[in-house]
């Protein structure tokens, strides 16, 4: 099982999208959260390692000049040609060996940042322990779904819920 857990911490629209079709998350900007940071700071402090897919990495880069996870080990899953980039390590190591090793060696929990395809693979391989969903009170109509059609059926146990301004924050344990 490993010492640490793998957590998906992500914002989702009411109709299940985590990003627009082009990966953008501009629809998160005008959402009224709580006064501080919607609990993000506390969550981020608990994280030892950051993992994301290549498209999510590209989107993060497009949002800011300062890579926001520069202070943690950060792995980017990519099947295409591996490149050198600051702050991150590109990898295509099989998840079934990589993630259990991370769970043992990480200095805190492992944050699966996204995107949809990597989340689905984690669910299929039963590598995801918890999901933290920030439900945004909007319908987008189209985009990249957190749980695309064909996601394997799964059950979850509700651990916690809280209201952060207009955001509903739900913590679930993945029932394997």
């Amino acid at each position: 099982m490993g010492k640490h857990k793998v957590v998906l911490y992500i914002a989702m629209s009411l109709d299940g999208y985590i990003a627009r079709k082009d990966g953008s998350v501009d629809w998160l900007d005008d959402v009224e959260g709580d006064e501080v940071d919607n609990g993000y700071g506390k969550f981020y402090d608990s994280i030892g390692t950051v993992v994301m897919g290549r498209l999510t990495y590209d989107e993060v880069l497009s949002l800011t000049d300062d890579f926001p996870y520069a202070d943690k080990p950060c792995y980017v899953y990519s099947r295409s040609k591996q490149v050198e980039a600051p702050h991150v390590v590109f990898t295509d190591e099989p998840l079934e060996s990589f993630i259990p090793r991370l769970k043992d060696t990480s200095k805190g929990d492992i944050w699966l940042v996204g995107g949809g395809q990597l989340v689905q693979t984690f669910l299929e391989m039963k590598l995801l322990d918890e999901i933290y969903l920030a439900i945004i009170p909007k319908v987008l109509g189209e985009g990249i779904r957190l749980f695309p059609k064909g996601t394997i059926p799964n059950s979850f146990k509700l651990l916690k819920m809280e209201q952060l301004g207009q955001i509903v924050a739900l913590s679930y344990k993945v029932i394997v």
Copy 2:
């Protein structure tokens, strides 16, 4: 505006489905709610008129011998041949005349029971005032979506949230 509001009160899986592909809602059966009725009784008391689509009506009939809304006026939207049926009135009157009249004459709020197609039409025509979502902690992987791809973008205002066992109940006002 009318005296009464139109409310969608519906259960949705974490991946946005309100029914399986064949319309069935068997996945709701083993969900741990609260001790009583997940607030349904109080909600139902506030309802003066029930409205649903034809497929939803068929599903309701298949679930029980006793039509559960027999004590309220109940309208079934259907574009196909109108039939005689106990407890309900089939209609294909344009929503833009029917719903405002209902809002004035109903003896309580109007419950839009479903399904997905009728909900989308109500949203497009800005006829829906509030949605009450019971979030079920399951991923189904496929089925009938509450907000199918192509639903017009919309924003909502969170009115209330509560935990009912494993169910997260969210009330939203539709922002027109």
